[in-house]
């Protein structure tokens, strides 16, 4: 028995090493060494700060750094505040419960799709201005500056909010369900606090502690976002991560050294953003603690709560409207300013969409394979018991891809793939998707596995059921609700991956997301609209299949009904 366990642990460790440690180590080395000037294949052997100095001499680099940092911090702070406002409102205001049903699907929408929608909605010639022109605005032509003075940055922040508010909201609600919130607010109210004040001062600080990892992931992503910036227009200077991507596209190979330094710098910038966030945490926590100690029984007027909730919902509304705009564009070719709606509906675009369909197939293949492997790996790790032995180290290692900017890993990985001739291969594509899906899989599977009632397993063992059979007949069905969530989330995360697909695909394998970003940056609105709609097909089809299977499989089990996807 012990030998079997050890063998399982060894297999799990080896798999983790191959899937996680190997690409991470290679990716990080492949970034750091060239950044220090060490790339003998190109004749560069002098370890020095020259590549970094060269990168810092790129025109506009200071502006790019400030832009990335500002965008990331503002977007993360606003999505955090908005999600907490919504959680507090949701916990007490019944009609808001409907919001939950739109937030679930919204977190499955890829970042780039949201960005395409926001572009179609908020550009000077976008849908919003079309809807009110020329009647209200008098515009017969789009204004020189639209609703947003700076579409690149402000549009980016709104797009990030539309994506991250529902994510943080659902994460917070999940955390809330583990807390005795009702009892705590009851105590707070008996002490004379309003219900909201009791939530804000007594419950939410605990929730905050539970969602720090997702928050950090949101912050790191926002500081280093590439796909959304590409869609919302090549502003000057571009965000730092976009500048780095451009560096890697330079025909001059030696330009990769300073570009690697840029990727390293992007990693540093993420750390800086986290440090600033931490400083803000300390500050706000001190203020809040003082507030609580003084015992103010502040009452927010009910109106204020509704107005704030309204503002918190706005970005999501913009995201949804944008998706509708993209849907309309996918069915039209002639839709000239200032018409509020397209004059005619045409399927001509869809008839030519064969190229997009093959990209959709690639996305399904890469996402499906990577998701199944990630889920399998998670189960292996959890069943082997290695998690218990290793504790937090394992957890942090799996979560690294969430806490490092993607660009800092994938550029280094690409150098390794190029050398091993794996670039542009399906192996590389699935591998890199697996690396970025695994953290999400892990964050859901680990608590679900920990919550299993092991007595079922023991009872089965006493009646002589073999280990593998027990796993198949007892553990898997008990994990089914978590499993379908993981499979759905894995597919959603995979279809959204832009940079990893771009670098691993090596141009040979195009996913629907690399296509959508390329078409949105330069291409007809119709084509970009179609690509955006096809991006939604993957989460949608996955959802329907999983939901259907779950209903069919567990129809007769009363206890499982609550566990389906919502």
């Amino acid at each position: 028995m012990a030998a079997a366990t050890d063998r399982l642990i060894f297999i799990a460790g080896l798999a983790l090493g191959l899937v996680v440690a190997l690409p991470l180590a290679a990716g990080i080395c492949g970034t750091i060494l060239p950044a220090l000037g060490w790339f003998p294949a190109l004749g560069a052997r002098d370890v020095s700060a020259v590549p970094l100095q060269m990168f810092l001499a790129t025109p506009g680099v200071a502006g790019a750094i400030m832009l990335s940092l500002g965008t990331g911090l503002v977007a993360t702070f606003l999505s955090f505040i908005a999600s907490f406002i919504l959680v507090v409102t949701l916990s007490s205001f019944a009609p808001m419960h409907r919001l939950r049903s739109i937030m679930g699907p919204l977190i499955a929408v890829p970042h780039s799709t949201i960005a395409i929608g926001i572009l179609f909605l908020l550009a000077p010639s976008g849908w919003l201005i079309r809807l009110v022109s020329p009647e209200l605005t008098g515009f017969v032509r789009p204004p020189a500056t639209g609703l947003l003075p700076d579409l690149e940055q402000h549009g980016l922040i709104i797009a990030l909010l539309a994506k991250e508010i529902p994510f943080l909201c659902l994460v917070s609600l999940a955390a809330l369900s583990t807390q005795p919130a009702r009892q705590i607010t009851a105590i707070g109210r008996s002490l004379g606090y309003s219900k909201d004040a009791a939530m804000w001062l007594l419950v939410m600080p605990d929730i905050y502690r539970l969602i720090r990892l997702p928050l950090a992931a949101v912050l790191v992503f926002s500081v280093s976002v590439v796909d959304m910036s590409l869609v919302l227009g090549p502003g000057l200077p571009p965000p730092l991560a976009v500048m780095v991507v451009h560096g890697f596209e330079d025909p001059d190979l030696l330009a990769r050294l300073p570009a690697s330094a840029g990727a390293l710098l992007q990693g540093g910038l993420a750390v800086l953003a986290l440090a600033i966030w931490r400083a803000g945490e300390v500050l706000i926590s001190a203020i809040l603690t003082g507030w609580r100690r003084r015992g103010h029984r502040t009452r927010l007027p009910g109106m204020a709560r509704h107005i704030l909730s309204g503002f918190a919902v706005l970005p999501m509304l913009a995201g949804l409207l944008g998706l509708i705009a993209a849907l309309l564009w996918s069915f039209t070719t002639s839709w000239f300013f200032p018409d509020a709606l397209p004059g005619s509906i045409s399927l001509a675009g869809w008839a030519r969409a064969t190229g997009l369909l093959s990209a959709l197939g690639s996305s399904f293949l890469a996402g499906g394979a990577a998701t199944i492997l990630a889920t399998g790996l998670c189960l292996l790790v959890l069943q082997s018991g290695i998690a218990a032995r290793l504790g937090p180290t394992l957890h942090w290692m799996i979560c690294i891809p969430l806490l490092l900017p993607q660009i800092s890993i994938v550029t280094g990985l690409q150098m390794m793939l190029l050398w091993t001739r794996l670039d542009g291969s399906w192996l590389a594509m699935i591998w890199i998707h697996l690396l970025f899906i695994l953290p999400y899989t892990w964050l859901i599977m680990a608590p679900a596995h920990a919550g299993l009632d092991h007595r079922y397993d023991r009872v089965a063992a006493t009646i002589g059921m073999r280990r593998w059979r027990r796993f198949r007949v007892i553990t898997l069905p008990l994990l089914a609700p978590a499993l379908i969530t993981v499979l759905f989330l894995g597919m959603s995360v995979s279809v959204a991956l832009y940079l990893p697909s771009l670098f691993a695909g090596g141009g040979r394998i195009a996913t629907i997301t690399t296509e959508a970003v390329a078409l949105a940056a330069g291409g007809s609105r119709q084509a970009a609209g179609m690509a955006a709609m096809l991006q939604l097909v993957i989460p949608l089809v996955t959802f329907i299949c999983l939901q259907g299977w779950f209903r069919w499989r567990f129809e007769k089990f009363a206890g499982m009904r609550g566990g389906s996807l919502h």
Binding site: G13, L14, A21, G235, L236, S334, W419, R421, G507
Partner: protein
């Protein structure tokens, strides 16, 4: 519990060490010695059909990774058609690798050479011209032997009448890239909004200042964006002759000064104040369709007509060129030195040069890219088919398109790009 070596730690340690080794080896591998420069193109007679049939036989079943800029739907659709044709005719799988910037493919081939990957490269056929071709040629990244004049369909071209077939931006092609199409910079405007567009660089400057926010150009290093800058410099220079010699032989600052003065003058009045630029010409065309800007540009004289036919541009859009003429060039197909399927790539290049493929390409309803074939060398039937093609409502006549400017020496392109980035790359 006895202290034992943890199997997990071992696995992690082993794989980390392994990956470190891999990374180190990758970085340490020395660059292979540069292969000897290939010989310049020798005179080739038209190869007999028999020679090429052996190429066709060898090509059967091969997969060609065709790296071509993929930013325009109708070009992508044309390549899809070609892919279906070569699959049926020659059993060749043609995969369009859509590039955002051709420079990325050059960089990839260079990286493969640096990594010693002399065979089985990832690019089989590359759509290229100008500075990128010059870079490929300079680094010996192309097929070592000239192959273009061995293509059976080369017979339909007339390089004496169209010297640009053998001279790519003043760089001799050396038989290393097969002509695919012709291009000329044309501007488009909506006659309903801008009845009288400015037709030279000086009046364009005043127009931009009188109509703030209504003009822009694609963000360099986009090909059209850089071409627009070259167009300006050719128009603004009193003596453009230094532009036709390598940039290293000229006083760059003095020659390009008129361009920077012009840009300094108009940039604050550009679309979004010159703080943002569209990514490429289809994005520019979309802005024209949205009436966000007044003037768009393309390297394809039929682009506007095709967009009108598809309903993407207003029917009132027309094209024009500058009075002193506009840049014109030929674009090509090249095969890298390490192509995995060089034979099939040649078959594809030959197919794309065939009258059937060229006539389809010239159809403004399909793509509208002018043919590189010489009318007088075509069969009467093909000639009639070519002449019967509609020109498109917004396309200029042949006579209007005779005012052309030759492309400057390719070395000017990266130099202008670097200086543009230095001045405007930060958006200030």
């Amino acid at each position: 519990m006895p202290c034992r070596f943890h199997p997990f730690s071992f696995a992690i340690l082993a794989s980390t060490c392994m990956s470190l080794c891999v990374a180190l080896v990758m970085l340490v591998t020395p660059a292979p010695s540069t292969a000897s420069e290939h010989s310049t193109a020798s005179e080739h007679s038209v190869a007999s059909g028999h020679d090429f049939s052996s190429v066709i036989n060898a090509a059967t079943g091969q997969t060609v990774y065709f790296n071509a800029w993929g930013g325009d739907d109708k070009i992508n659709a044309y390549i899809e058609w070609a892919s279906a044709e070569v699959s049926e005719r020659f059993d060749i799988t043609l995969v369009h690798v859509k590039l955002g910037d051709t420079g990325a493919a050059v960089s990839r081939i260079l990286a493969e050479k640096a990594a010693g990957r002399d065979t089985n490269g990832s690019v089989d056929l590359l759509w290229v011209n100008g500075a990128n071709f010059a870079a490929l040629k300079q680094h010996s990244l192309l097929q070592p032997a000239p192959w273009v004049e061995d293509l059976p369909n080369w017979q339909f071209t007339d390089a004496a009448a169209l010297p640009a077939l053998k001279l790519d931006f003043a760089e001799p092609t050396g038989g290393l890239e097969s002509p695919w199409g012709r291009a000329q910079l044309v501007f488009s405007h909506d006659t309903a909004i801008t009845p009288l567009p400015p037709k030279n660089a000086m009046t364009l400057a005043s127009y931009i200042k009188e109509h703030p926010g209504r003009f822009t150009y694609p963000l360099p290093p986009d090909f059209i964006g850089l071409s627009f800058l070259k167009q300006l410099i050719l128009e603004l220079s009193i003596d453009p002759s230094p532009l036709y010699a390598p940039v290293s032989q000229a006083d760059f600052d003095a020659v390009t000064a008129p361009l920077w003065i012009w840009l300094e003058d108009v940039t604050p009045y550009l679309w979004r104040g010159g703080k943002s630029y569209p990514a490429n010409y289809p994005a520019l065309r979309q802005l024209l369709a949205d009436a966000e800007i007044d003037i768009a540009m393309a390297f394809n004289p039929a682009d506007a007509s095709a967009a009108i036919a598809r309903g993407e541009l207003q029917p009132t859009v027309r094209t024009y060129i500058h009075d002193g003429g506009t840049l014109a060039n030929v674009h090509f197909l090249a095969i890298p030195f390490n192509a995995s399927a060089a034979d099939a790539a040649k078959v594809v290049a030959n197919f794309l040069l065939s009258p059937a493929a060229q006539i389809r390409k010239a159809d403004p309803r399909i793509w509208g890219d002018p043919t590189v074939l010489a009318r007088h060398r075509l069969d009467p039937a093909d000639k009639a088919a070519l002449d019967a093609l509609p020109r498109g409502v917004a396309t200029l006549g042949e006579a209007d398109l005779t005012r052309t400017l030759a492309e400057p020496h390719p070395s000017w392109m990266p130099a202008i790009e670097a200086e543009w980035k230095r001045r405007y790359g930060s958006g200030n």
